[in-house]
């Protein structure tokens, strides 16, 4: 097992030995920021490539094959193409808000991304209110989407943005209820502690029935939060052209696109952190040799494996179900998921108080 926290402290002490304290902190912050942004972009590229290949597999196609071996360079080509596209300044927009919108969306996405625990010590932000902070940071992405739709002064964009706002704030509720259920079980909100506690067994196993229900509701709500099919009303291409980013061209559109994919990764990452044990390996009690072998797989491989598995589940749903109507989306949330979520929270509390957890 590689221990990243010891690597971190080695770098930290080295920098402090050669530089004055404040400069060393500055350099560390710069290194962390660059690493986080590069990781963010790298995962965005992985996600877009994976989406294309998985979608192709579900539709019995091959997906991109021309650019690079097995289409591996296709995404790089697309990013470059997007970078050299002209940015069209539209006449009737509210310029300031129109420019601000991608900043907000990307900011919310990057801050949430930096809360993900990739491995022991491989986590940028580790607050003691961890999951609560994640909820807060991820929820101001909806502001960017609303601003994008409003400021474009385009009917399609406006309808898309309002739909997106209504849907995202609604589903945020059942997401926070599911996370609450898990916080009741774990007794802490700090992400690293939650992961550490799952060494003795993943929460989806320890919390048995209520945890499984919470996991399923979380996946549904997370799918709706990322505005992907079957909840892709905000950008329903057959009705609204492109929804809230109709008027964005070039890189402005690219940022919304990247943020959407990365939000899916983040949702999957939080799901694997809270329910599937984050970077802790899978243990079977009693099988010493098996547990020993599992220890040898590095933590970030576990984390990425679980996360990409959840991502794959979300993609499977996306390419299987048809789009819902807005009234169906809201009824599903308010008449089914919220009551079930509240009830589930109570069941989990009873289980924890009575000691019925595994």
């Amino acid at each position: 097992m590689i221990d990243f926290s010891s690597i971190n402290s080695t770098i930290d002490s080295y920098l402090h030995s050669v530089l004055p304290a404040q400069v060393a902190t500055l350099v560390e912050c710069a290194i962390i920021a660059v690493c986080a942004i590069v990781a963010y972009l790298a995962f965005a590229i992985v996600m877009i490539f994976m989406e294309r290949k998985v979608c192709a597999a579900f539709q019995c196609r091959l997906g991109p094959t021309r650019v690079g071996f097995w289409g591996l360079l296709q995404v790089f080509a697309d990013v470059f193409k997007m970078l050299i596209k002209e940015i069209i300044d539209i006449k009737n927009s509210d310029w300031a808000l129109y420019t601000l919108a991608p900043f907000l969306v990307i900011m919310s996405s990057i801050i949430t991304f930096s809360c993900l625990p990739f491995d022991n010590g491989l986590q940028v932000l580790d607050f003691n209110i961890g999951v609560f902070f994640i909820m807060a940071a991820s929820s101001f992405g909806v502001l960017g989407i609303l601003l994008a739709g409003w400021s474009s002064n385009n009917k399609f964009a406006m309808i898309g943005a309002i739909r997106s706002g209504g849907q995202m704030i609604s589903y945020e509720l059942s997401m926070s209820l599911c996370i609450l259920t898990l916080v009741v079980l774990s007794g802490t909100m700090q992400v690293s502690e939650i992961v550490e506690m799952q060494r003795g067994g993943w929460f989806i196993i320890r919390g048995h029935i209520p945890a499984v229900i919470a996991f399923i509701i979380y996946l549904i709500a997370g799918n709706a939060e990322t505005n992907r099919a079957p909840f892709d009303l905000p950008e329903a291409e057959s009705e609204l052209t492109a929804g809230f980013h109709t008027e964005y061209s070039g890189m402005g559109f690219g940022f919304f696109y990247v943020a959407e994919f990365m939000n899916m990764f983040i949702i999957a990452g939080i799901a694997s952190t809270l329910f599937l044990g984050g970077w802790t390996p899978f243990y079977i009690p009693g099988l010493e040799g098996f547990n020993e072998a599992m220890e040898w797989i590095p933590g970030f491989v576990w984390f990425l494996g679980k996360t990409l598995f959840v991502v794959w589940l979300l993609m499977w749903v996306r390419w299987t179900f048809p789009r819902l109507r807005i009234d169906q989306v809201l009824v599903l949330e308010w008449k089914y998921l919220v009551p079930i979520g509240l009830l589930n929270l109570l069941i989990m509390t009873v289980c924890v108080v009575m000691g019925w957890t595994l």
């Binding site: 902190t25 710069a30 986080a36 970078l83 596209k85 945020e172 009234d327 008449k335 919220v338 109570l346």
Partner: protein, 116 residues
Amino acid sequence: MDLVLLFTMIIASVLFVGVAMLITRWISPRTYNRFKGETYECGIPTQGSTWIHFRTGYYLFAILFLMFDIEAIFLFPWATIVQELGMKALVGVLFFLSFLILGLAYAWRKKALEWK
């Protein structure tokens, strides 16, 4: 240290978007014609402004959301100490949640959850 990192990430994300936007402004081609900046609504000339009153259906859900979201904020500190409080926590939250469920039931009864 955590707050410093948070500000670092905020600045980094702003720089990330800003620099990419500047680069694309710099290297992308620029042409101008009269119709380029028109609002894109399938080629038909735009009718009126978009900044009008919008349907209230969404507004109702936003109010309901506010109620439940604040409830979630109150529940988070409670959730961290359930294991220490034991039975007391369960009884206490039963009162709290029953009010909320009553509120949801009231909204349901008043047909606030219907899409009209």
